[in-house]
Symmetry: C2
Subunit: 201 residues, 2 copies
């Protein structure tokens, strides 16, 4: 638990099951490795769209989707993280990602991110629903109204577009992804390897 010797960017999408598992694991692993994490919410939708997909590949390719659900059950048990598939999948994560960017400025992005993930993948709620996000914010002692006003303005919208463009330019094509400098790692299962590289960094 020495001083942080390196940095790692954690690129995540609120509708991604594997991103959820990574979000629940990353703080403890990063602390042990002495690595500082930059939390980077982005949208997979535009990246998938540029690949010709109009929904999650887990819906487009049913065998892959069935496997993902089974693997989530195994991962949840392995990492002692609660999991259920929400009725709506994938969920529109636009509002959640915009709020997270406000949280990045204000210092509450990490608890907000985890609370949104738990709402979706522990409680099965639809986090594209404003009322669900309001409850999440209130649970963090934040007043929802001014935050929703804020994300209705142009600056946060543009920030999220820029962040998503940056993801795509960096070669990111799925979530979670981890960047250590220009080195890309894709998938929750690559988290340890990415941290090891950041630590040595």
């Amino acid at each position: 638990m020495g001083e942080a010797s390196g940095r790692l960017e954690f690129w995540y999408e609120f509708s991604s099951t594997y991103s959820y598992i990574a979000a629940m694991r990353i703080e403890r692993l990063a602390e042990t490795a002495g690595v500082t994490i930059d939390w980077k919410p982005f949208l997979l939708g535009p990246i998938f769209a540029s690949q010709g997909w109009n929904t999650s590949p887990f819906n487009i390719y049913p065998a892959k989707g069935r496997y993902m659900v089974r693997e989530m059950e195994r991962l949840a048990e392995q990492h002692d993280v609660p999991f259920r598939m929400p009725a709506v999948f994938p969920q529109n994560s636009l509002q959640a990602a915009r709020l997270a960017l406000v949280g990045a400025e204000a210092g509450w992005i990490i608890p907000f991110t985890k609370a949104v993930y738990l709402a979706a993948f522990r409680d099965g709620l639809d986090v594209s629903n404003r009322a669900v996000l309001e409850d999440v914010l209130r649970g963090l002692n934040l007043d929802p109204a001014p935050l929703f006003d804020r994300i209705a303005g142009p600056d946060i919208k543009e920030q999220l577009r820029d962040q998503t463009d940056l993801a795509q330019e960096s070669g990111i094509f799925g979530a979670p992804s981890f960047m250590v400098g220009e080195e890309l790692f894709w998938g929750n299962d690559r988290l340890e390897q990415a941290l090891e590289m950041a630590r040595k960094g």
Copy 2:
């Protein structure tokens, strides 16, 4: 290195880079775990075709393809396995897979499989080329002519079709895949986890 306590099916495609890495690792890991491996060559082409793909997803999705090549370099270093991308990718693996089925009967499927992979991913050769496969066979002190006669007949062709159908029916959508009973694991990076389940029986 005790008696084998369980079995694991190793489903592989000769044109798959990640299958190559798994093939080079699996014997030692299986011996340590005391698990018996059933080597199961199959064709991804028909499975991909049923998903609407006419080539490797690494070609269809260039960001994914670039990432795969970079990850192969990292995996090759990590596991001390030689690697280069062959000029032709993916390679037509039909003849290699049919020969491997003859090898399964005759007891040389494992050295044949590894030799084909090394020809492709160490030496950069095109293993859809009959002369390359003949060299591989001669390297194992096998006479190529009767083996090529054998795979021209209907029984091996049908065996490979059946094996590929069985893969698809088992939920397999990529390679390598590992089956322990009805439990499916996808990807070279799941090999250890699959062996652990097989070991526990």
